[in-house]
Amino acid sequence: MAKEIFMPKLSSTMEVGTLLQWFKEEGDSVDIGEPLFEIMTDKINIEVESYEEGILLKKYFEEDDEVPINHVVGYIGEAGEKVPDTPPGESGAAPQEDAEDTAAEAEPQQRAEAQSEAAPASQDHHLSDEKIRATPAARRVSREESVSLTDVSGSGPNGRIHQGDVMAFVSSRSSTKATPLAKKVAEGEGVNLQEVKGTGSHGKIYRADVEAAGESTQTSAATGGKRVKMDGIRKVVAQRMLQSKTTAPHVTLTTEVDMTEAISMRKQLLGPIEQQTGFRVSYTEIILKAVAYSLTRHPNINVSLEGNEIVYKDEINLGLAVAVDNGLIVPVVRHADQKGLSALTAECKRLGKAARDSKVKPEEMAGGTFTVSNLGMYAIDAFTPVINQPESSILGVGRINEKPVGVNGDIVLRPMMVLSLSFDHRVIDGAPAAAFLTELKETLEQPFKLLV
């Protein structure tokens, strides 16, 4: 029988995914593990692979549609099998659970409905045991509006959800309803949908409405320019940076590192590491290695503030800030202190490529304890990085630049590099931060310390 394809939940904060593209058409055959479609979450773009083998029977959503997690996106089954014409509402089962569930023989529609009645709370088991109290009318409206009842709070006795509650939720969720075409045109023309008056039922916005609004904006707005709605990664970066800057008192220390010895070490290690891993070791990996080494000596930097408690992390997991097309993502190198330069190099290259290809897995971005942001490939000497919370400090790395410096009374040219350490002054004071940065500087200037 036909199996549902669900919008997966890829992180604890994920509520919806934007369908970027389908790799299959209705009627195409699909193998287990084959990419079915690509989605954009608030953190990443990722390809969703099939858990089933069969024919793609139905696609309910088009590109650019936002789909709540655990909603049925389509069906896979045998050719000619009947599936519902409309997506069967919110569903309770996580995709993996469902793939294993072969006992249920009910029709998909009935099953999906049964799930929505019995366990709409998805993967949280303690929640799935609780039956949501909602009137039949509320359930009908939630199906029609594709609202998960778990998101709606009920105003009735014992929290029973009424249809009015669902309708209030719908109107609060999307004050702007627009056709996919209208959304596309709005994006292309830089029209803010919030400001467009829809002529459709319940104010639904059509293309003509967007075009009309676009014309009036062009005549009234003094400055033109393309407007693009912030969404996906861009939106998250914006929120997190603002949140970090407004909650954590940032203090930044800078120091200059003489990279002579590090450069020399890199030259000597280039060949052996490339032979071993197929990758050329870069300064980034050497800096990561030195950071991990220094953190083992300064555990009071490898901390996090959780509520009222300072958590001293027992792992050293280094985030590596990587610029991608529409934002910034930070894959994490786990147990960096336990990895040699070869392993670090291989891991960094792999994560960097995955990041640029939007293929980093959610779990590869979680659990960082300290972040390194390297702008050394640009003509940047120094900058003040913003802490990647819940971490408490971040290292900014500038370019290596030959400068005249004084050495034993002589002015000589040395390859110098500025390190900036931003830290959260709520949990880390200036002196320990300075001590850590000093240790890091000395480690990079005498990199053989890394052997100790």
């Binding site: 039949p136 009735g156 009015g164």
Partner: protein
């Protein structure tokens, strides 16, 4: 248009029908010179004579048996029971004979009779003269059950009942007898199985029968002052039941309160509630269906206790508000 009381409307329907159809006659206790227990047949004996307004001995079994037999021979008897409670004595004839004969004889015999009888409480007639037992009869295939609430409906529905070739139980609520409404002079028929929306509304549907229609309308007036718009539907006939009208109304209002005087337990309200729960209107319900019915006690003699044994206007208002969570 002239106004008639419910009682006069029933009498007028019978008189007009008897003038145009010689097969129609009435039989019952004290219906002749005395004019019946409530005066419905008063003066009819003067126009139609004792042959067609037939006084009977005090035996509901005998009267009903006679009516069934007369109907089988082609007559169209109207049987009046003094109180609907006495239907227990006529039960075998109504349930085992009248209801079954047409079916069991493959349509070769038919039982075109009407059993008219006053039902309900409110007259201080105590437990054996105040019951509402209509749900019993609705359970029996082969019987039609009518419960008019207004004079206009009573005349039109009685005409339809008299025209029907099947046995019809026609419940007249004692307290409705004195209510009046505009009633056309000519004889007209209201089809059985067609509910009437007594008042339009949008927030809640109240389905009420007999005297509870009037109480529900009063409750709806009170509710309107609080901004609550109640739709009041009178099914008028329980068998056949106009489910469409009720379903459409519930789809519109999303809430249902069913009110009847009969004891709630096992009452017809449960049938209406189940009908909605099984129908497409289920997906439109935004609150549990509420049933209001009489308490499970024999109707008391004491007038205050008698009143409190059945739903009051205030209770209907409260039930509606509970359904609306206000």
């Amino acid at each position: 248009m002239r106004e008639l009381t419910y009682l006069e409307a029933v009498r007028e329907a019978m008189s007009q029908e008897m003038r145009q159809n010689e097969d129609v006659f009435i039989l019952g206790e004290d219906i002749g010179v005395y004019g019946g227990a409530f005066g419905v047949t008063r003066n009819m004996i003067e126009e139609f004579g004792p042959e067609r307004i037939r006084n009977t001995p005090i035996s509901e079994a005998a009267i009903s048996g006679t009516a069934v037999g007369a109907a089988l021979t082609g007559m169209r008897p109207i049987l009046e029971l003094q109180f609907s409670d006495f239907i227990t004595i006529a039960m075998d004839n109504m349930v085992n004979q009248a209801a079954k004969i047409r079916y069991m004889y493959g349509g070769k015999g038919k039982v075109p009779m009407v059993l008219r009888t006053p039902a309900g409480s409110g007259t201080g007639a105590a437990a054996q003269h105040s019951q509402s037992l209509e749900a019993w009869m609705t359970h029996v295939p082969g019987l039609k059950v009518v419960q008019p609430s207004t004079a206009y409906d009573a005349k039109g529905l009685l005409k339809a009942a008299m025209d029907d070739d099947n046995p019809v139980i026609f419940y007249e609520h004692k307290l409705c007898y004195k209510t009046s409404s505009e009633v056309p002079e000519e004889l007209y028929s209201i089809p059985l199985g067609k509910a009437d929306i007594k008042r339009e509304g949008k927030d809640v549907t109240i389905v009420a029968t007999a005297i509870m229609v009037h109480k529900s309308l009063e409750a709806a007036e009170a509710l309107e002052k609080e901004g609550i718009s109640a739709e009041v539907i009178d099914p008028r006939t329980l068998v056949p039941l106009d489910t469409d009208t009720i379903i459409q109304s519930v789809k519109k209002t999303s809430r249902l309160v069913v009110v009847h005087e009969a004891v709630k337990r096992g009452g017809f309200g449960g049938e209406i509630a189940s009908t909605i729960a099984e129908s497409e209107a289920f997906d439109y319900l935004d609150a549990p269906i509420k049933r209001l019915g009489g308490k499970a006690v024999p109707i008391p003699y004491n007038p205050e206790l008698e009143k409190s044994a059945i739903p009051s206007v205030n209770e209907i208002v409260a039930a509606v508000k509970e359904t609306l969570n206000r």
